[in-house]
């Protein structure tokens, strides 16, 4: 029997984490994602699976706890929202530089500064382009349903361990807070310490048993030649990820005249706008990037040849639109429509923007 529940996106992430056999969660409360740690604390997963849940003294501490535990070959995660993610950036850069697998969840709220607690997509630059220092990349998954909030936990870990790279679920306050039906995955067993040694003993700090060489987790290279070599290695890895791991969804893209590009909750609003457009005889499609990095540039470029114009719809002043423009490379008109600071666009507004900025513009 399917295990179906009505849950908030934040709760779905938490429950999916327990079921994915996650070893530890470290976090610090911040709206609109505090339900993640609240759910975990109430659920007492140490009784269900032995999973550790700890409320840290800050996001800085939480991400560094993730670093320490991830460096042991364990399945570890944290979650936060925009201001908290800013604090985590130092640690994220270290985790990426040291090539550690882990999962981070960002339930974005409006900024800059303390901003609002309402939903936003204004962390796109921060999470997709870096945020922390140095040349690194996060694998960024953008859910648009509560179901995907749950599903992307395991997917995120799968990719994180496959490439020894931090993965991120970039969500927003709408999806974090809204309740939907979700089919929960079956309970996976946590890996035993012996299994961890077998799988990750070549790099993880598990104690240097049986005469093996010591393992060192570091992102430091004193010699620039070696740092450059390390960076080249990272870039080769990122190239492989870009080639193999692009994920996207296309809706109504068989023969559209116009294209929306939107992710997360904006994509859902665009879906409604497509229906409204149809009623007016306007054929519009939607390309929804599921991975924001790697970005579906090739697919967008292909579609650009078939449509008369592209409208990028974001809850930001215009961030992903830069990547769409790069992908389209001037082939067709690309415009941006955004509401921000915690405001969410209505489908009517989106359709109106398509009509004024693209069709009539």
């Amino acid at each position: 029997m399917e295990d179906v529940k009505l849950m908030k996106g934040n709760e779905a992430v938490a429950e999916a984490a327990i079921r994915a056999g996650v070893d530890a969660y470290f976090g610090y409360p911040i709206t609109p994602q505090s339900e993640v740690i609240e759910y975990l604390m109430a659920e007492e997963p140490h009784k269900r699976t032995g999973m550790v849940v700890l409320q840290a003294e800050s996001e800085l501490a939480a991400i560094n706890m993730v670093y320490g535990a991830a460096a042991c070959g364990k399945k570890v995660m944290t979650s936060s929202s925009s201001p908290g993610i800013s604090l985590k950036q130092e640690g994220i850069s270290y985790i990426a530089g040291s090539e550690l697998p882990c999962l981070i969840v960002d339930v974005v709220r409006g900024g800059p500064g303390l901003g609002t607690i309402q939903p936003s997509q204004a962390d796109y630059f921060q999470m997709v382009k870096g945020g922390g220092h140095g040349d690194y990349r996060l694998i960024v998954l953008a859910p648009s349903t509560v179901q995907e909030m749950a599903d992307f936990v395991e997917l995120g870990f799968e990719l994180a361990f496959k490439y020894r790279n931090p993965a991120l679920i970039l969500s927003d306050g709408v999806i974090g807070q809204m309740m939907e039906k979700v089919v929960l995955p079956p309970q996976k067993e946590r890996l035993g310490d012996e299994e961890i040694d077998k799988r990750y003993g070549s790099w993880a700090t598990t104690g240097k048993k049986n005469g093996r060489e010591r393992n060192i987790i570091t992102s430091l290279e004193l010699k620039p030649e070696r740092q450059e070599a390390h960076n080249l290695h990272l870039q080769a890895k990122y190239k492989e990820i870009s080639e193999k791991e692009v994920r996207l969804e296309k809706i109504n893209c068989e023969n559209p005249d116009y294209l929306f590009v939107a992710y997360g909750s904006s994509a859902r609003i665009c879906q409604k706008a497509i229906q409204l457009a149809e009623e007016k005889g306007i054929k519009a499609g939607l390309l929804r990037p599921i991975t924001l990095w790697p970005f579906p540039s090739k697919e967008i470029n292909k579609l650009a040849e078939q449509v008369k114009g592209i409208l990028v719809v974001e809850m930001s002043a215009g961030q992903m639109v830069e990547d769409v423009k790069l992908a389209v490379n001037g082939k067709v008109k690309v415009e941006h429509f955004g509401r921000f600071g915690g405001m969410v666009h209505s489908p009517d507004e989106v359709l109106e923007a398509l009509e004024t900025k693209i069709i009539g513009g």
Binding site: G68, A71, G207, I216, T218, L220
Partner: protein, 257 residues
């Protein structure tokens, strides 16, 4: 009585083993200035881990500071933490591996300035880790800037006329603060600039690691150390200065346990 002095060859011939480097120190050349206390503190820490048979279950955390490369010298599994974050990193390790032995090795800038929150909260939670805290009253690695532990009137590159406590506040006795936290089980202040003190410091470190095996809470060993480069003194003058001034403000001995 010059004829009574044994040459090294004669000592070796008589088969008297005077000193043996622990196998838990690598053969890598130490990156520390001659006379620096870091090397001694490394050695006695690793000797303790070997003597207690903890080699296969120990995970250490190096800081950012002169001992950033501690993992080049300490022959156990090691992680390199961001500046000040070692106690949070160690918390992460210990929480997923409660049966392993986990320690951090941190300087005074790392532990008592940028990492104060991580340090106090790890100790307050009573994480079952051992913290080795090298207090040399200065930022050695970055070229001798003022630390939270720099003594009043002490010159550094960012207090060139001496630390003015009206402007910069008082040197932070963080070890005294830590001793007040119920999460800590053993808090002590030691030094390594004299042979007798080295033996005492080693005993303290041993006690700390032994207590960690009993899961009783955080164990914390401060080592008041020198920085001849940062202090702009010869190694001998630095040790004399340490003895005379540092120990006055940071008196040696157990604060708790």
């Amino acid at each position: 009585m010059a004829e009574n002095i044994l040459t090294p060859e004669e000592i070796i011939k008589r088969g008297e083993l005077v000193f043996k480097k622990t196998k838990l120190m690598t053969d890598n050349e130490l990156s520390y200035c001659p006379g620096c206390g870091h090397g001694v503190a490394h050695r006695i820490t690793m000797e303790v881990i070997e003597e207690l048979g903890l080699e296969e279950k120990t995970i250490g955390v190096a800081p950012v500071g002169c001992s950033v490369l501690a993992y080049e010298f300490m022959n156990v599994d090691m992680q390199e933490a961001a500046h000040g974050r070692a106690p949070a990193v160690a918390t992460g390790i210990k929480r997923v591996y409660p049966d392993k032995t986990v320690f951090t090795y941190q300087g005074d800038g790392d532990l008592a300035a940028i990492g104060t929150a991580e340090t106090l909260h790890a100790c307050n939670r009573g994480e079952n880790i051992t913290i080795i805290f090298i207090n040399n009253g200065i930022y050695g690695m970055t070229g001798g800037q003022m630390a939270p532990t720099t003594l009043p009137g002490m010159k550094s590159s960012t207090s060139p006329y001496g630390r003015d406590i009206n402007m910069m506040g008082h040197p932070l006795k963080i070890t005294e603060l830590i001793a007040m936290l119920p999460g800590t089980v053993y808090v002590t202040r030691q030094a390594v600039h004299k042979p007798g003190l080295v033996r005492k410091a080693k005993k303290a470190i041993k006690k700390a690691f032994e207590l960690q095996q009993e899961n009783k809470g955080t164990t914390f060993v401060e080592i008041v150390s020198n920085c001849n480069s940062g202090w702009k003194m010869t190694p001998v003058d630095a040790n004399n200065w340490l003895d005379k001034h540092m120990l006055d403000y940071y008196p040696l001995g157990d604060l708790k346990g």
